[in-house]
């Protein structure tokens, strides 16, 4: 035993002193567990440092998700794995805990979004089919942000726009959502430049639609941009006829939003993201000039207003300056008559534009004095739609504006149809009988004229006959001369004869050939055979 102290009393002095080594207190065998411990420590350290953030994502259901197996992916790259799936304390949701890659911890912030990729049918497209075989996974949308976050509400449907896509979201205010849905296209001149991202019902019961416009097209949205609903087929039957409006086939099926600048307006500075716009019902409504100030007028028409609708245009010599805002029926009890006041709104900028009310009033008075009248006109004979036409009728009896307390009343002239019926009335009153007897007299005179013409013709007949005879004699002489030319011995004759003879020879040889071909039709293909054949 090496560790037994021994005395060297009974040993000879001659023996050399052993080189004493310090006793190794610890056996070398302990290196083995030490190495193992170091390996374990290194593995543990590596696992700990590589361990990324643990996030909790709430979902409606854990369908297709599996703890330890379901992956979290960003751009189809594995960035983590689901570690556990639990129920929320109130059982309303499923809480999925996922361990993400450590390198991404800076990106796990309030802007991160998570959703489950399963096979689904959206926007008429089937997506996530690969997950049928490979199983569902959680997709992540990450972007740089400042506020770290570890608990998330998972999206139930995949986001239409991920943070990778650049562009701007604009808020569109509408009365109703219509056939729009998340994913509906946003079109600019028929080209898809964005998508509807989402919609919310506001407290005032209007619908706020978030429309995402991709960069760089979002730069085209400015204060003069109008958005309208391009869903379905717009079929309008109005004073301008039948019109069919569609932006694209896709928008017909899926709904969509279109936008464009107002015509003839300068493009303003680009609108900031999240700017709110009004969503018009259709292109016409969107493109209709929206003047801030509108003047209300009242018109009283004598005839029927059948065919006139609210919204019908008010035009001045074909230029739209306003629209019909109301058609009422009013009993004037004092005067014991029924009148139909038609309320119209005229863009104040269009006619008699002036800032000062007094000046404007004076101007209108002057225009009416010059003969400005309102008239119902037939916009479309087929549909019978009417519109209000303002024009100068200088022939009309002078009238003036009734500046009522409410809307001032503009003088009117009868409808064009009314005028036509006036014309018919005049026709009815025409003295047709006398006109008939006049006509008989005329006819008698005409008969006389015919007789006169006949006698004239007879005279012409007589006087021209001798003349004609002379012409005939002359003609005969010419023919005799011609005969000489064609005589037997004339050069022309002999030449012709020679040609005919040659023709006869040619015809004979043709007959011979046709005879031969009849007997040997194969000669056509093979050529003429030898005599022995």
């Amino acid at each position: 035993m090496p560790d037994t102290p021994r005395s060297d009393d009974d040993l000879p002095e001659a023996l050399p002193e052993a080189r004493l080594e310090r006793e190794r207190r610890v056996s070398l065998v302990w290196l083995i567990p030490l190495v193992a411990l170091l390996a374990a420590a290194w593995l543990g350290y590596r696992a700990y440092t590589q361990q990324g953030p643990l996030v909790t994502i709430g979902f409606e259901t854990a369908e297709g998700l599996e703890a330890g197996k379901t992956r979290v992916r960003y751009k189809d790259v594995d960035i983590g794995v689901v570690e556990a799936i639990d129920l929320a304390p109130d059982l309303a949701r499923v809480l999925v805990r996922a361990r993400l890659a450590a390198a991404l911890s800076d990106y796990i912030n309030d802007k991160a979004r998570f959703w489950v990729v399963r096979p689904r049918l959206t926007r008429g497209q089937v997506s996530g089919l690969a997950t049928l075989v490979g199983g569902a996974y959680i997709a992540a949308d990450l972007s740089a942000g400042d506020t770290p976050q570890r608990a998330f509400d998972g999206l139930e449907t995949p986001p239409v726009v991920t943070a990778v896509e650049r562009g701007s979201v604009f808020i569109l205010r509408a009365d109703a959502l219509g056939s729009l849905a998340a994913g509906s296209p946003v079109l600019y001149r028929g080209i898809e430049v964005g998508t509807v991202v989402g919609y919310t019902l506001r407290d005032d019961r209007s619908v706020a639609i978030q429309a995402f416009v991709n960069a760089p097209h979002d730069a085209w949205v400015n204060a003069n941009t109008r958005f309208w609903n391009a869903s379905g087929i717009g079929l309008s039957l109005d004073a301008s006829g039948i019109r069919v409006d569609t932006e694209s086939l896709a928008s017909v099926l899926l709904g969509g939003i279109a936008f464009d600048d107002l015509p003839n307006t300068p493009s303003d500075a680009r609108a900031q993201p999240e700017t709110e716009f009004r969503l018009f019902a259709d292109r016409d409504a969107a493109m209709a000039p929206q003047y801030a100030q509108r003047e209300d007028w009242q018109l009283l028409f004598a005839g029927s207003v059948r065919g006139l609708v609210v919204g019908a245009p008010v035009e001045f010599r074909g230029i739209r300056i306003g629209e019909v805002t109301g058609i009422k029926l009013r009993m004037d009890s004092e005067q014991r008559r029924v009148e139909i006041p038609v309320e119209i709104a005229i863009e104040s900028g269009r006619l008699g534009g002036s800032e000062d009310a007094a000046t404007r009033r004076q101007l209108w008075d002057e225009l009416v004095a010059q003969g400005l009248r309102a008239q119902l006109k037939n916009g479309n004979l087929l549909t019978g739609a009417l519109y209000v036409d303002l024009d100068f009728h200088p022939d009309d009896a002078p009238r003036s504006i009734v500046w009522d307390a409410g809307a001032p009343r503009l003088p009117t002239v009868p409808t064009a149809l009314d005028q036509l019926s006036d014309l018919l009335g005049k026709l009815v009153r025409l003295p047709l009988d006398s006109m008939g007897s006049d006509l008989a007299a005329t006819l008698a005179a005409l008969r006389d004229t015919t007789e006169a013409t006949n006698s004239l013709l007879e005279r012409i007949d007589r006087e021209t006959a001798s003349e004609l005879n002379q012409t005939l004699v002359q003609t005969r002489k010419t023919l005799v001369a011609l005969e000489k030319v064609l005589a037997t011995n004339s050069p022309l004759q002999s030449e012709a004869l020679r040609i005919f003879k040659e023709l006869g020879t040619a015809a004979r040889s043709l007959r011979i050939m046709s005879d031969y071909l009849e007997r040997h039709p194969e000669a056509l293909l093979r050529g003429k055979g030898g005599p022995g054949e």
Binding site: K69, L132, V133, G134, G135
Partner: protein
Amino acid sequence: MNAPGPTALARDLVGCHSCGLVNRWPSTHTHARCARCHAPLHRRIPRSLSRSWAFLVASIMLYVPANVLPIMHVTSLGQVRADTILSGAEYLLLHGMWPLALIVFVASILVPLVKMVILAYLLVSVQRHSPSRRLDRTRLYRFTEFVGRWSMVDVYVVTILVALVHLGAVAQIEAGFGALFFAAVVILTMLAAHVFDPRLIWDDAVTRHA
């Protein structure tokens, strides 16, 4: 070696299983404990032959379902394939992995069979007090005791495959009943070998010699 000296039993000596101390134990007494470590002493493993037979018969009975029933069900894209022990080795062979096929064949098919045959032979030969080739039989016994455990390899392969391949519709492996029976066969043959006392092979020779 064919004429060994008297055994410890004959000289009233018993080795302790636990500490290895050789105790003096007069054969007139039936129960004794080790002088050093107080472990119970046995001259021979009690009822060695009958217990060994019981384990062996049980393992032979279970050997049939172990080979007939599938050890695992492989579901791949809707298709279910059942693998038995033999078809597993065959699969490896067909796919050109013959060294592996050999290991699986030897460990899973040959070893249990050979082990059962050897055990049966040893038991029968001891019961018949056969005097022939005692040393070879002892070596056979040591061989079976060493090699028997390796038959478990197929059970572990199934375990790992089950743990690894659970990909839903793509691929899924489930353990079949064959694996359980096979594990039972391995364990039973191990127990049969364990309770068999190889000293019995020599006892007969000693008594005759004495």
